[in-house]
Amino acid sequence: MIKLSGITFRYAGAAHESESLKDINLTVNAGECILLTGKSGCGKTTLTRVLNGLCPKFYEGELSGEYLLAGNDTNELPVNEIGRTVGSVFQDPRSQFFCTNTTDEIVFSMESHAYSQADMTRRLESLWEILPIQHLLERRIFNLSSGEKQKIAIASVCAAEPKVLILDEPSANLDADATEQLAALLERLKRRGHTIIISEHRIHYLMNIVDRMLVLDNGRIYREYTKEEAVGLAENELLQLGLRKLIQPRFIPLAPAKPGIMPAAISEKIYLQKGNSQILQGLDMRVFAGEITAITGSNGAGKTTICKVLTGVEKENSGTVCYGGTILKPKERIRNSYLVQQDTDYQLYAATVMQELLIGLKETPDIRKQACMYLEKLNLTEFRDRHPASLSGGQKQRVLIAAALLRNRQLIVLDEPTSGLDGMHMRLTAELLSSMAADGKTIILITHDMELIDSCVTRIYHVGEGKIANEYRIH
């Protein structure tokens, strides 16, 4: 189905000798399922872009080598022709929606290729057999949960029935249930005869589906494993490859016990209504200094809202929030906490990393000295004069954490800090958070990342129906 020989790609504007892909040779048979993995920046996203034709036809650059798709040389195919054979689901479903309404989104590619109404209906009805999402039709895309967006994104690609399906980190924003549903869906697609290529960090949920696992490193295919070999990889081998674990930790419910120490922050009987829906319904929560508390729960359960109320970005309708024993108004909470949101791009405003830390503060020599200290502590010293936008995702996140530490905020909340991070970077983040907690900070994580929870979290709250439904511990 796919044959790559000697594929090398360098993005336009990238320095010489800094190819994103080097001499990739790969044959994928029809009906096969291939998993691409490796550290962040290893070239797996670029490889998916070569496969769907975006490199070099959309993202310009120098491509050498040969790419045969179903026997045709892709150099001679326009990018939309490649797109008809190779359907692509991108990392962030939010930004790939072209239409404002789910129905239009699903039929968009069929409309573009002038399918008849009868044809579209027939294909939709056959799509329901593997992906029953009739209940999501005729909705505005902006109001969907992450899991629902992911389903619409996959449906919009599968409706036109492409032979090959490429997915770039499809589980990045999904909770445990939605990830399981995704795995089941991929299995159905495979059984239907689709060739599937998945680029992913979280590999545990895919082990029943994949036929081969390729580990990329520095633009090359570094290792190739059959399914049996991949499943048999020992923990230290995975660690060495910078990969995540194959088995997820399990959680068991914990009988809630009242700890003797004073909580750093308490929220009591918080209610919050948005439009017609009651988001928070009597939330009671206690977090403690020197601890890392994880908030888990399904997509759309209200985890982010809880943290926005706790940090004061959103106002509660009723209830109270105390920091260290005093009831604070939302505005006062904002000044005593820091919320690091998932998307770092809109949280960075200055021209250099140094200014980024100091923005909004009165500049004194003392503050500057402290800023330098935190840069050192978070391994950012070498980037102090770089533009924040030019940093990698993990580095941007550290800049935000440094800004929070410099402001001496007691409560630091992070929303999905490790979505899209490879095993190595996930472990680095866990270490950093642990050291912050050891310094006495109160840390809250909103996360689906079981491995992160396993490696640093001390307390787990599970959110359901607008309040803390359960407390768990790791089994």
Partner: protein
């Protein structure tokens, strides 16, 4: 019966959960789309442009404002109609105030120009609210070039996104103690430009990039005929609507000349 609920906001979102299509019959309901055709909506914009600039008398301008409200109500955009009425009335009343101060006077001048723009802008709203597929296919039936159609569709798709991103930026800035108040925005325009516009541009450029990549792969750049899942055709009702709009537009201009 209009199958596509055009009321924006959470209310329609909630009500839709109860009335979700589940069977083949419901697919049929979506197919037999019965909103006012996009070509009529487009014509309404063209027909509104001329009077909104040429009308001289306050009475004809007010009559036109009433037409705008009626148009929005006919298209079941009650919320938009209310918003329009409130803003327009507020501006109108502001201008009734007698002022001697030059500075305030010049601000009021700008308001009166803005009030004219509002007329056309709100008549244009229903075009953006049409299902994207219907919009693309009706424009392609008029032989509008593909580039223009896609650009227009992306523009309507992008407006809510920009608003979303703007709010996210503003809320995250609060933690750094910058740009908290609207007054601060006005007092430090350069800093506001840097701290809001730059991240907004970085974000929207990234989204636009991915959006176009995914659209191109799904055939957005294919020249030639497109089809529409929802039925797109000019009905008798559409034609009558078209004629009424033409008459109203011409009538306004004539009345204005008469009363001048």
């Amino acid at each position: 019966m209009e199958s596509y609920n055009e009321l924006p906001g959470i209310h329609s979102h909630i009500s839709k959960i109860a009335a979700q299509p589940t069977s083949a019959d419901d697919l049929h309901k979506i197919i037999s789309y019965a909103g006012i055709d996009c070509r009529v909506r487009l014509f309404a914009i063209l027909a509104a442009t001329l009077p909104s600039f040429l009308l001289k008398s306050e009475i004809t301008l007010l009559i036109m404002a009433v037409f705008v409200v009626v148009w929005l109500c006919v298209l079941r955009q009650i919320r938009t109609a209310i918003i329009f009425t409130v803003i327009y009335a507020a501006f109108y009343l502001l201008q009734r105030i007698n002022v001697t101060d030059m500075a305030i006077g010049s601000i009021l001048m700008v308001l009166s120009i803005f009030r004219r723009f509002m007329l056309t802008a709100f008549i244009a709203m229903p075009l953006g609210k049409a299902p994207t597929g219907v919009l693309i296919s009706s424009l392609s039936k008029m032989h509008v070039p593909r580039q223009v159609t896609i650009a227009l569709a992306v523009m309507f798709r992008f407006m809510p996104t920009v608003a979303e991103e703007y709010n996210a930026i503003r809320s995250s800035q609060k933690f750094r103690g910058i740009g908290i108040s609207g007054w601060g925005l006005l007092r430090h325009p350069v800093r506001s430009y840097e701290t809001i516009l730059v991240p907004l541009l970085i974000r929207t450029t990234k989204i636009a990039d991915e959006l176009s990549a995914s659209a191109i792969l799904r055939g957005a750049s294919v020249e030639g005929e497109v089809s529409s899942f929802r039925t797109v055709r000019l009905t008798h009702a559409d034609c009558i609507c078209l004629i009424i709009i033409a008459i109203l537009s011409a009538g306004l201009l004539a009345l204005d000349l008469l009363w001048r």
